[in-house]
């Protein structure tokens, strides 16, 4: 039950969506783009978000593309996590999204929604980070395609009227050796204590995390440490953990010290599992 009223719009084109946003915004209606809506509804019911206009993007063709063509995998922002898992073009992404929320909700959460939400975990971002994906954004000045790593650096760096349209992943990343490990406090259906996603590209591990800090991250510094074979496995892991550039989360899911312990276990598993691919 949402305790306030809003208008609902379902545009059929990107241009309509952007224009609508700009117009509604100028009218003070604080519009929001709406994908699956799971986060919006659960926040709205407890007064944690307010809007007078909801723009549902599920009618926009570009946001519903899900195709592997010309060495590029394009996934529209309105594609649901369930759909990603079923089509399974990018197994690492499938494995990751299959552990977000629960199976039923995965059929409602959209890729765009998971990326653009306020949730600190955004686990679907991790495979996109390690696969050097690009993101397509539509704004008042038209469309731009940028590396996803440039947009998601601690915070989401896009202007408010900009709409996430698609993500594009180079085909060569889709079936590289990879690993997804999610650890929770206790319960399978839960936010991550730590989610780790790794992929081996040209003998090097690309690695990204959720739950370790209050935003998902992938850093060159840590990857260099992990890939520096002049040190032993144990030394690399130790150095890795000591050089995390962000504050490690300390919350109900687990203390920061416990997260470090768990990260140690997970990194060991990662190096063991990906050994052959290196």
């Amino acid at each position: 039950m949402i305790p306030f009223n809003f208008d609902y719009y379902k545009p059929n084109t990107l241009t309509d969506a952007i224009n609508l946003y700009t117009e509604l915004d100028s009218m003070g209606k604080s519009p929001i783009y709406y994908g699956g809506g799971t986060e919006f509804i659960s926040m709205a019911r407890v007064h944690n978000v307010h809007t007078k206009a909801v723009i549902d993007i599920k009618g926009i063709p570009e946001c519903n593309i899900h195709v592997l063509k010309n060495t590029k995998l394009t996934i529209g922002s309105a594609i649901t996590l369930t759909n990603i898992a079923i089509k399974n073009h990018f197994p690492l992404l499938s494995r990751t999204v299959k552990r977000i929320a629960d199976h039923t909700i995965q059929d409602k959460i959209t890729l765009g929604g998971n990326l653009a939400g306020t949730i600190i975990y955004k686990e679907s971002l991790l495979p996109l980070m390690v696969a050097n994906a690009n993101i397509v954004l539509e704004g008042i000045n038209g469309s731009r395609t940028v590396p996803i790593m440039d947009v998601f650096c601690k915070e989401m760096n896009i202007s408010k009227e900009e709409l996430i349209v698609q993500v594009i992943i180079d085909e060569r990343y889709l079936n590289l050796p990879s690993l997804h490990v999610k650890r929770t406090k206790n319960e399978k259906i839960d936010y991550p204590l730590i989610t780790l996603v790794a992929l081996v590209d040209q003998g090097k591990i690309n690695i990204a995390f959720s739950g370790l800090s209050d935003f998902p991250f992938r850093t060159k510094l840590l990857e260099d440490i992990l890939n520096d074979e002049s040190f032993s496995k144990d030394e690399r892991i130790k150095k890795f953990i000591n050089n995390i550039p962000y504050k490690i989360l300390d919350d109900l899911a687990g203390s920061s010290e416990y997260r470090k312990f768990m990260l140690n276990v997970m990194l060991n598993e990662t190096l063991e599992n990906l050994q052959e691919a290196l």
Binding site: K185, L252, Y258, F261, V265
Partner: protein, 781 residues
């Protein structure tokens, strides 16, 4: 005439098809357009003076019909101590306490207006820990404790303290027994507050009709208690107070007290008696409505060299939160069962029910027995290690037997308690104890078993009553009407089975009135304490006897014999010596009509009742007394797989052997015990309320307060020992709560032995184990 048994057989619940088709109606499913909706504004502070509440903006909000605060109709409520205003007045004592109620045309409008209310607080110091509540110079949560009325004999509030009640057990001479002991162990234990989490949140509709009738439709375990309490608090005529309860979507003790009903009544009063509905959001159900107790315990046990436990000394601090509710009664329940089902001749125990600035508590499945069982069962495992004995054999050695006495010095018989030894022996086989408590797997993981025994009696009111009305239909079927609420265990069906068995007829011809309406149904104390089958079953047997007597009486006229010549079975009244001479129930049910017209008899209606017998309040100095009509005992085990590298574990098996006397419906009973074990594993592994330093509850949604999900369950095993209770209906003792009781201790015992560390605090998460094993510091070396 042959009779097919109607008890001891697994019959699906009568309402089953309604439940699997979505047609079963719960309280919130009766949606009418004449209903107003109320929302409650709750406190953001755990302890504060309410300086002001400004609702001028909210009042003008669309659809708002009325706004009330604690000043509107100030009353104090409580079944043991009258200490709780339904809406806080002047002061708040816990985070989540109701402080204002908005009544509006729609739920959305009420919810919107709530946000427009401004409250100014003056924060006070917070009591966040039990030991702080006990300090002599502690701040007081109830400064006027001395002025509160306390109707119950169980209340003995100690003025100018935070002690709402206390129970003392003094049996034998512990000092002497400790002196004589070969070994003495003393440890501290702790169990946090937690949530009932019934899938249906608490909700209520109240209406005051122009004729003066007050109608409450509510999701409750205790419609008759609501009637009593509302009548008492608001001075209402009991004849004009009608409480109705349809099927309830889970309760677990959380719906046994009166809370939203008070508020709904006041809200209805504020809008001219119109129908007002209040439904808790999930979050409010967790942080505003009452929860499960938290307990800190200190236990000292002394034993001989060969493992005979000679003495037990225990102190329990029970976290009642901000208001007493049934907290003092649970403290009593803990104290009076503190030894577990073991024969300990020297027992000193003190249990204190304490006020803190946590959410207030009420009954929860097991009524304090999880907290009573955990310390003693952990202690026994520690004793076994110290004496180098098998913990199962140690329990066998000390198991309570006929002729022993309980901590309250009431006598144990096989009939009133059952057979602990047999439960332990059966468990031994069921979980293959012989293979060893710890087994090393090839992959370096460890498989380990832990066990615990339990016992529990009802702790019911000494004058608790139940009644059953039976009516015969003109097709010879029987309608059953009694006042226990169907909250899930299938007691409506169980009572029908008892009726069918007593009447020697087919269960399919016996039908329950599924709802409870206090105007129509005979009074049933409360649907709590695993007492429904026992109490209502005894009443049902009497009601059957009344029906049978009437049938025989009218049948004797028709069949031209004496009533003594007749018997009843298969819906027929027949001659004992010649069953071929009979008359069918249907021809007698609404009067017998002779072929030539005249009729005799009339509608056959039977009733029976039951009242608790021989329960004696505890002596304040010694604790001597009797707390329930019988005790149900059992033995439980949990088997886990422990990973010593990740400090992680997996649940493999959970088992219960219970002696609940005759099992009326084995399928239903097994389900109840498995469900209880599942909740017990929840308490053991993950469920706890987490408060921050300001006493604010931090995990009040199902997103953050985790329940076990599908797939995480172990394999559940249940078997029965059936030592019949002489004065119970067909020998059936209570069993509905019991599956939960020993499971947390059994799991803690399994993890402790697997990891070689002591786990005396619940819940036990992998991080807890990691902390215990490593000191809680990540060591990068």
């Amino acid at each position: 005439m042959g009779h097919i048994p109607q008890i001891g057989i697994s019959i699906p619940k009568k309402e089953s098809w309604n439940k699997v088709t979505g047609r079963a109606k719960y309280n919130g499913d009766h949606i009418t357009s004449d209903t107003l909706h109320a929302r409650i504004l709750t406190s953001t502070h755990a302890h504060a003076i309410i300086k002001s509440i400004d609702f001028t903006k909210a009042e003008k909000s669309k659809g708002v019909q009325g706004i009330i605060t604690g000043d509107y109709l100030p009353v104090l409520t409580g079944s043991i101590i009258e200490d709780r205003p339904p809406i806080a007045k002047d002061k708040v004592r816990y985070f989540g306490e109701p402080i204002a109620v908005v009544i509006a045309n729609t739920e959305g409008e009420a919810s919107y207006a709530i946000k427009l209310i401004d409250v100014e607080y003056e924060p006070l110091l917070v009591i966040n820990f039990l030991q702080d509540a006990m300090k002599e110079d502690s701040i007081l949560i109830h400064e006027k404790l001395s002025q509160y009325h306390h109707p119950s004999v169980e209340a003995n509030p100690q003025f100018n303290t935070n002690i709402a009640g206390s129970t003392k057990i003094r049996k034998g001479d512990v000092h002497k027994a400790f002196n004589d002991s070969y070994i003495i162990l003393e440890h501290n234990y702790s169990l946090p507050q937690s949530d009932h989490s019934a899938m249906e949140t608490r909700n209520t509709i109240a209406e005051i009709l122009p004729s003066g009738e007050v109608v409450i439709n509510t999701s409750s375990q205790a419609p008759f208690a609501i009637k009593e309490e509302l009548s008492k608090v608001f001075g209402l005529s009991k004849s004009k107070l009608i409480v109705r309860t349809p099927l309830v979507g889970g309760a677990f003790g959380g719906k046994a007290t009166v809370q939203l009903e008070f508020i709904a009544y006041i809200a209805s009063l504020a809008v001219g008696g119109r129908k007002v509905r209040i439904a808790n959001t999930r979050e409010q159900d967790m942080f505003s409505s009452p929860a499960k107790i938290g307990v800190d315990a200190k236990i000292k046990i002394g034993a001989t060299e060969d493992g005979i436990i000679r003495a037990l000394e225990a102190t329990y601090l029970v976290d009642c939160g901000a208001y007493s509710d049934t907290g003092p009664r649970m403290a009593k329940a803990i104290a009076s069962s503190c030894t577990g089902p073991y024969n300990i001749e020297n027992v000193y125990c003190d249990a204190f029910a304490l006020y803190t600035n946590h959410i207030y508590v009420t009954s929860y499945r097991g009524f304090g027995h999880v907290a009573a069982t955990f310390p003693v069962e952990r202690s026994i495992d520690k004793l076994a290690i110290a004496l180098n004995m098998d913990p199962l054999e140690l329990r066998l050695k000390n198991a309570i037997r006929e002729g022993n006495t309980t901590p309250t010095q009431s006598k144990v018989t096989l009939s009133n308690t059952g057979n602990v030894e047999e439960c332990i022996n059966k468990l031994k086989t069921l979980i293959n104890w012989e293979e060893g408590q710890v087994v090393q797997n090839i992959d370096d993981t460890i498989r380990a078993k832990g066990m615990a025994c339990f016992w529990k009696t009802s702790n019911s009111a000494p004058d608790a009553i139940s009644g059953v009305i039976l009516k015969l239909n003109s097709d010879g079927g029987v309608d059953v009407n009694f006042g226990a609420v169907e909250i899930g265990p299938g007691m409506k069906t169980a009572i029908c089975q008892i009726v069918a068995e007593k009447m020697k007829m087919d269960i399919n011809k016996v039908h329950p009135f599924m709802e409870v309406d206090t105007q129509i149904s005979p009074k049933h104390w409360k649907t709590v304490a695993s007492m429904t089958t026992f109490m209502a079953g005894n009443a049902a047997i009497k009601a059957c006897e009344s029906i049978i007597k009437q049938l025989k009486s009218i049948g004797s006229i028709v069949l031209r014999c004496t009533p003594e010549d007749l018997d009843v079975a298969n819906q027929k009244v027949f001659l004992r010596d010649d069953p071929s001479v009979f008359i069918h129930f249907k021809d007698l049910a609404h009067g017998y009509k002779y072929a030539d017209g005249p009729s005799i008899g009339g509608e056959i209606i039977g009733h029976g009742n039951y009242i608790m017998k021989h329960l004696v309040p505890l002596n304040p100095e010694t604790g001597q007394g009797k707390t329930g009509p019988s005790i149900t005992v059992g033995a439980q085990a949990v088997e886990i797989e422990y990973d010593p590298v990740k400090y992680d574990y997996r649940l493999l098996k959970a088992a219960t052997i219970i002696d609940a006397g005759k099992i009326i419906n084995p399928g239903a009973a097994k389900g109840l015990l498995m469900g209880g074990m599942s909740m017990g594993l929840g308490l053991a592994t993950r469920e706890e309320f987490v408060y921050n330093a300001q006493g604010q509850l931090e995990n009040s949604s199902l997103r953050t307060y985790k329940l076990i999900h599908f797939g995480e369950q172990p394999e559940y095993l249940v078997e029965f020992v059936e030592t019949e209770q002489i004065d119970a209906p067909f020998g059936a003792r209570g069993l509905a709560e019991h599956g939960i009781i020993g499971i947390p201790a059994a799991l803690a015992n399994a993890i402790s032995i697997a990891s070689q560390a002591d786990f005396d605090t619940l819940p036990i998460s992998p991080e807890t184990i990691w902390k215990a094993k490593t000191g809680g510091k990540y060591d990068s070396l």
